[in-house]
C-alpha cells in the first residue's frame, strides 16, 4: 500500500517533468528534465522492486543510474563543444 502510494507520487512527478521536457524553451531545460526523468525512473524501479517482491530490480536501477550520469555528461559535452572527441590541446594550439 505504502509502495503503491510512493509509486503514484513518482509517476505524478514524472508527468510534470516530462511536461517541462516538452515545453522547455532552451535545450538545457530539456537536458535537465531528461536527467530528472532518469532519477525518477531509478526511484520507480526501486519502488516497483519492493512492490512486486523482486529486489533484482535494484541491479537494473544501479546500472541505469550510472548510465544516466554518463549520458547526461556526454550530451552536455556535445552541446558545449559540438564534438564528443573534443581535445583541449588542439584548441589552444590553433
Amino acid at each position: 500500500m505504502m509502495f503503491a502510494a510512493a509509486a503514484a507520487a513518482i509517476l505524478t512527478a514524472l508527468a510534470l517533468v516530462i511536461a517541462r521536457a516538452i515545453r522547455g524553451p532552451t535545450v538545457f531545460d530539456r537536458v535537465l528534465a531528461g536527467n530528472s526523468v532518469g532519477t525518477l525512473a531509478i526511484l520507480l524501479l526501486a519502488v516497483i522492486g519492493f512492490l512486486t517482491g523482486r529486489p533484482e530490480f535494484l541491479d537494473i536501477a544501479l546500472t541505469y543510474g550510472l548510465l544516466n550520469l554518463i549520458g547526461t555528461l556526454a550530451v552536455l559535452k556535445f552541446f558545449r563543444h559540438g564534438d564528443l572527441a573534443y581535445d583541449v590541446d588542439t584548441e589552444t594550439k590553433s
Binding site: 502510494a5 510512493a6 550520469l69 552536455l76
Partner: protein, 120 residues
C-alpha cells in the same frame, strides 16, 4: 519494534514522495534554467534520500540495503556533478541568470566594516 520501524518507514517514504512532487512542481513553475536546477536538486537530494532511507528500513539488514545505499552514494556524487556541468554549459552559451541585483563585481567587502569597531 517492528511496528516502530514500519511507522518510521511510512513517515520517511511519505516525506520523500512529498519532496519528489515539490521538486517536479518547481521544475514546471520556476522561471528560468538556473532556478529549475535548484528544483531538480530537491528531487535528487531530499526526495531520493528520504525514499531510499524508507526502503532501507523496510528491507532490514541485507544485500538489498547495501544496494540502496550504493544508489544513495551515486546520487550524492552524481547530482552535483551534473548540475555543475549544466550551469557551466549554460554560461558558456551566454545564458545569464536573472538577478534582482548584480553583485558579481564586488570582490571584497568595504574596508570600513572589516574591523567591526574593535580598533579605537
Amino acid at each position: 519494534m517492528t511496528v516502530a520501524v514500519n511507522i518510521a518507514s511510512v513517515a520517511l517514504m511519505t516525506v520523500g514522495s512529498f519532496f519528489v512532487i515539490v521538486g517536479a512542481l518547481g521544475l514546471v513553475r520556476m522561471p528560468e534554467v538556473f532556478t529549475r536546477m535548484h528544483a531538480a536538486g530537491i528531487i535528487d537530494t531530499v526526495g531520493t534520500g528520504f525514499l531510499i532511507l524508507g526502503m532501507c528500513l523496510q528491507a532490514g539488514a541485507s544485500l538489498v540495503t547495501l544496494k540502496l545505499l550504493f544508489l544513495l552514494v551515486l546520487f550524492f556524487f552524481g547530482s552535483p556533478i551534473v548540475t555543475h556541468a549544466l550551469a557551466q554549459a549554460c554560461l558558456h552559451e551566454n545564458i545569464q541568470p536573472r538577478l534582482a541585483e548584480d553583485r558579481r563585481d564586488i570582490t571584497s567587502p568595504p574596508a570600513a566594516s572589516a574591523d567591526d569597531g574593535r580598533q579605537p
